[in-house]
């Protein structure tokens, strides 16, 4: 009995991945239609696609207090207290790592990075072909906490994730430091151990124990290697409540020739004979967008170390100026063959500056002479 439930769960997650990929394909290639599989739609209709509220274990984040009438002296005092509390904490250097630098092996999972999608720039390859590259700005990432595998497997999500697998550790990474007055005391206490200014964004990255990092380690654009493939997670553009034509690609009805009030409607929603009801998962108007998506296998073509910018070939989910997470790719044929900066990149301690702008060999560098075929 127990075994059969597990099998069904696994099949669900497998189907979930398949449906996600299928939905991605239908959204991008509008001409290509998958055949209508009622089984898949019915199982997926029970999976909740998104929630608007955070999980129950999240602490209240934003300060709910209204403007209190504080005198200017007291305000200045508050500023001083903040400055004293969060005085310059020197970032962890490579030589400071407590754990011995463990060897990289192909099964290692490194940390990811939180970045902002700041837009799209066009670049050209060496044969003159134009390429759309997404510009990702790696924010001020710092490791907040490392949760070892045994502890993480006891948590709610950890238990689900590693049900019949060997458990892995979890790195909590924060990005975008901001004024502690904006947040609640409970949220700021998450960063007290580390002594960092509270971060606006937090993310969890699943890592193998040999890629664990101590708290307060900075993560920069140098964490990645030119030419590697990355997966980018983001929440897609929120289109709001959309009709059936935009949301599911229905054709609607004729624009003229006497059509009465049937231009962008769905039409029939059932047969009347089979089951004699509407099947769950019937495509109808509703909320579209703001969903978790991964764009996998995107190649890094350029890294700017000075501004912490990564140029990635292709597009990522989400609108401009939205936050995304970047991981080393999960695609088996595009994984690392040689060791990347493991566990992360640390700037050289002898003060030599790294190369500011690193380009992939396939791209045409703008300062170089024009291409002649």
């Amino acid at each position: 009995m127990f075994q059969s439930l597990e099998w069904r769960n696994e099949k669900l997650s497998y189907l979930a991945v398949k449906i996600c990929l299928a939905v991605d394909i239908t959204l991008s290639l509008k001409a290509f239609r998958l055949f209508f599989n009622h089984e898949q739609i019915r199982t997926m209709s029970r999976v909740k696609r998104r929630t608007t509220h955070p999980p129950y274990w999240h602490v209240l984040k934003n300060n709910q207090r209204t403007d209190e009438k504080i005198s200017s002296d007291n305000l200045r005092f508050v500023q001083e207290v903040i400055q004293d509390k969060y005085k310059n904490k020197s970032p962890i250097k490579g030589s400071d790592l407590d754990i011995e630098k463990t060897e990289w092996d192909p099964k290692t999972k490194r940390s990811g990075v939180i970045a902002r999608n700041i837009g799209v720039q066009h670049m050209w390859e060496k044969d003159g072909k134009k390429v759309i590259c997404t510009v990702l700005h790696v924010l001020d990432n710092h490791v907040i906490r490392y949760v070892p595998p045994e502890e993480y497997a006891k948590s709610v999500i950890g238990a689900k994730m590693f049900k019949n697998r060997k458990p892995l550790g979890c790195l909590v990474v924060g990005a975008e430091a901001s004024n502690p007055e904006r947040f609640t005391r409970q949220y700021c206490s998450l960063f007290d151990e580390v002594g960092l200014l509270p971060k606006k964004r937090l993310a969890r990255f699943i890592v193998t124990p040999n890629a664990a990092l101590p708290p307060c380690t900075p993560l920069t654009a140098g964490h990645f290697v030119i030419g590697q493939a990355v997966d980018v997670y983001g929440k897609t553009i929120d289109y709001g409540f959309q009709g059936v034509v935009k949301r599911w690609g229905f054709k609607g009805g004729p624009a003229s020739h006497g059509t009465t009030k049937f231009h962008r409607r769905g039409g029939t929603i059932g047969t009347g004979r089979d089951k004699a009801r509407v099947w769950p998962g019937q495509k109808m108007p509703g909320h579209m967008g703001s969903e978790r998506r991964f764009n996998r296998g995107l190649k890094i073509v350029r890294i700017n170390m000075k501004y912490n910018i990564i140029y990635v070939k292709g597009t990522v989910p989400g609108p401009t100026n939205s936050i995304v997470q970047i991981f080393d790719t999960a695609l088996p044929r595009r994984k690392f063959t040689e060791a990347p900066p493991h566990p992360t990149y640390f700037p050289p301690e002898d003060g030599t500056l790294p190369q500011e702008d690193i380009w992939d060999s396939s791209l045409h560098v703008f300062g170089s002479p024009s291409i002649s075929v």
Partner: protein, 305 residues
């Protein structure tokens, strides 16, 4: 006193340029087609490149106001959803890098240009095309322009991306402006208005300080046309000689209130303060590149003798 006067004239110049730029919707004669000063003049003159002092006493470099017409692609796309200052700054740096390799001259719609492109299928690996610029657009590295010519009685239009590394050379053979910002009506005009010899030589201008405006009025072929030209308020076409019902329908369909819609124009443009900042950023590098090119030209002409 002098500084205030300068700022006043500067702002007046900006305001005039602002209205001039969106002259299509304006029917009144606030549209004074004032000749714009060219990049040569702007670079040589010391007065426009003033270092005005602000309150703290530090000198602030201000680029000449003509830069927004000479280098319009440095201004970003005004759509707020897609704007990001850091990305725009990085894009501008890349644009300057490309401009250090190839000279992208000042040109306007109506100028006749020659573009040499690397082409694998050509016999000598380079393809040259001469044509009149009928439209230009895009911002940043996506900036483009369309050249039109009539070759063997066949109209040909080619869209070139200004920063594409396949482009070897962009040459302006005749620098002038027309009465309209977009010359798409040349597609429906008589072919002689779009024909230019492929071996045209660059013309030397007598007066370098001002870009001349060609007041040519083009004759269109009889209907049918590709667009309803009578609805577009074109200055550069001869009288269309259409039946009155066309003009009546154009009046009904027209949106005369758009010229009063300040927010519409605000959303379509970058604010003047931001434009000043952007051009001040790129100004010194562009000037340096111009000077280097001039020295190279002079040295080249000296070596001839």
């Amino acid at each position: 006193m002098l500084r205030r006067a300068f700022l006043q004239t500067f702002r007046q110049g900006l305001a005039q340029s602002f209205f001039k730029r969106y002259a299509v919707s304006l029917t009144e004669t606030t549209v004074t087609h004032q000749p714009i000063e060219t990049s040569d003049e702007a670079g040589e003159k010391s007065v426009p490149t003033q270092k005005t002092g602000d309150e703290s006493g530090n000198t602030v470099v201000v680029a000449p106001p003509e830069f927004r017409f000479i280098y319009p692609e440095f201004l970003p796309d005004p759509a707020m959803e897609r704007r990001n200052r850091l990305r725009e700054k990085l894009e501008r740096m890349d644009m300057l890098q490309r401009r250090s390799v190839i000279e992208i001259p000042e040109f306007y719609t109506g100028s006749i240009m020659a573009v040499t492109v690397a082409d694998a299928n050509s016999p000598n690996k380079f393809a040259k095309f001469v044509g009149i610029c009928i439209q230009r657009g895009g911002s940043g590295l996506r900036a483009w322009f369309i050249l039109r010519n009539v070759v063997d009685k066949q109209g040909v239009e080619i869209l070139y991306e200004m920063y594409c590394p396949l482009i070897q050379k962009i040459e302006v053979l005749r620098l002038e402006r027309r009465l309209d910002e977009s010359l798409l009506y040349l597609r429906d005009a008589l072919p002689e208005y779009s024909t230019f010899p492929m071996d045209m030589e660059p013309e030397r201008r007598l007066n370098n300080s001002v870009v001349p405006i060609n007041p040519l009025k083009v004759k269109l072929r009889p209907r049918p046309w590709l667009e309803r030209w009578e609805r577009q308020n074109l200055q550069g076409v001869e009288d269309l000689n259409l039946p009155q019902r066309f003009y009546d329908r154009a009046e009904k369909v027209a949106k005369p209130w758009e010229k009063y819609d300040l927010m519409l124009h605000y959303r379509k443009t970058i604010p003047a303060e931001e434009q000043e900042k952007i051009f001040a950023e790129v100004h010194s590098q562009l000037q340096q590149q111009e000077l280097k090119r001039k020295l190279r030209r002079r040295r080249g002409s000296d070596n001839e003798y």
